[in-house]
Amino acid sequence: MDQQTAVEQNSKEASLLEKKIHRRKFFKFSSVAVASAAFIASCDKNKEDDGVNLGSGDVGILNYAYALEQLEAAFYTQVVANAAFSATFSTDERTFLTDIRDHEIAHREFFKKAITGAASSSIIPALEVDFSSINFANKASVLGTAMAFEDLGVSAYNGAGYLFKDANYLLLAGKIVSVEARHAALIRELVAANSFLGDQVDASSVNISRTPAEVLAIADTYIVTKINATNLPTG
């Protein structure tokens, strides 16, 4: 595919996500309107609430990765735990989704331990997620979301790699991102044969990358906890 087509597909994907984001904002505003008195009363507090701060430097990038791994792990945990899991997916699909759940949990727990060890006061807390837009008993809904998460994760690690100052952390991110890319290719194959690269590569067959701001804007649809990325390095 040429670059123009790739760009168009990316923007299609982006606009789908935007719609989701808008819908979520609408619900937020609706509930605010219903409880407007409470909203006004809590305004001062909200002003001071800048959300969970990822922090700065390499630890900030690690927290950023930790946030994304929390999101992925929570998603696959819910996929596998759903009562309709066996009825919805084939034996192979169940094997893969269970494996991926365990990989994402390994990533999440690894970051938790490593960040605590490196800067215990800087680690972000467990994030609250919102998967209400996903139908966990529907194969297309689950695999579509999984594909979006995996592709997002790959582009996130790729886009943040150059921000690391410590080569050891860069290597750690490298060890994880290729596994996320393997997941992404696999999930894509479960959705449609030979889509393992799809619209995730540019005209030179290089995987796309996204900035933390771009990634968090997309992930925001599924994360209730406000994330403050303002102190992340920008290069």
């Binding site: 990533h107 690894f110 790729n158 150059y162 860069l170 750690l172 290729s178 590569v201």
Partner: protein, 281 residues
């Protein structure tokens, strides 16, 4: 790949590239227009000095060395799929399509790296006139048996992923070059996952998964080194954390999950020794 592609690639990671290349943006836009109309091949020859000026310094020799190393491997990978697509008994349909997608992807990597290296002011390393795809007789049926062809493809892709990973540190902080290398690294991982999945679906290696379970799970004993090395694929320790001691859904994370969840690097020396029997180095 031409001048426009290079600038577009760079613009993705450095939005100011046109400003850097010329303080007079208008002049740069004219240059850009000219390039897109003519797409002339001669321009990259002057690009090296242009980029050096734009970024205030020459591209470090270490960066060039990593790019040349990557190109050396991509030349070989492309030829492997190019020959394989033409010669190996690949079932028509989805399997053939997949191999051709990967072949074309590798060719794009070759052309991309050639252009980037040229733009950085160096001469891209040439491909070898001849490769030995049997690896000196280790895989005599590489292009006559579909199972062997996919087995070698898997080993090469997994090794490619490890090769890029092993040298990422040498591109630390290099926004343009590191981001490009990571982007290719991820695509090699997508190839590897696909080839592994094809081997599973074809029943060549029952139970093999798109990720590396334990150490050498390829079913190819000759590839032990490709999954070994100073930090083998079977490693479960990262930054002082033993993954198998961390909490899983029930109990702790299993060894299989721990090894699958992290891919490992290979050094340049390790990779070059592994591909030497193919005539790559």
């Amino acid at each position: 790949m031409n001048i426009i592609n290079i600038l577009e690639e760079i613009e993705k990671v450095d939005g100011d590239v046109y400003e850097r290349l010329s303080p007079r943006r208008k002049a740069m836009q004219q240059f850009y227009k000219y390039g897109s109309k003519a797409a002339i091949a001669a321009i990259p020859l002057g690009l090296g000095s242009m980029f050096n000026k734009a970024y205030g310094q020459a591209v470090p020799a270490g960066v060039i060395a990593v790019l040349q190393y990557a190109l050396t491997l991509e030349h070989f990978e492309y030829r492997f799929y190019e020959r394989g697509s033409a010669l190996a008994p690949i079932p028509a349909g989805a399997d053939k399509t997949a191999i051709d997608i990967i072949r074309d992807s590798e060719l794009k990597h070759v052309n991309f790296l050639k252009t980037v290296i040229t733009a950085a002011g160096a001469t891209p390393v040439a491909e070898k006139a001849v490769y030995d795809f049997t690896a000196m007789g280790t895989f005599p049926t590489v292009f006559t048996s579909y199972a062997t062809f996919l087995a070698v493809a898997q080993v090469l892709e997994d090794t490619g992923v490890r090769a890029y990973k092993g040298r990422a540190g040498e591109l630390l902080g290099q926004k343009v070059y590191l981001t490009a290398a990571l982007g290719i690294h991820a695509v090699e991982a997508r190839h590897a996952a696909k080839i592994r999945y094809m081997r599973r679906l074809n029943g060549h290696v029952p139970g093999i998964k798109p990720y590396i379970t334990g150490g050498n799970d390829s079913g190819v004993p000759a590839a032990n080194g490709n999954y070994g090395g100073a930090i083998p694929e079977s490693n479960v320790n990262h930054a002082g954390v033993n993954i198998t001691t961390l909490p899983g859904v029930t109990g702790t994370i299993s060894v299989n999950a721990a090894t699958e969840a992290f891919d490992e690097p290979l050094t340049a020396a390790e990779v070059l020794a592994l591909v030497a029997p193919f005539g790559v180095s």
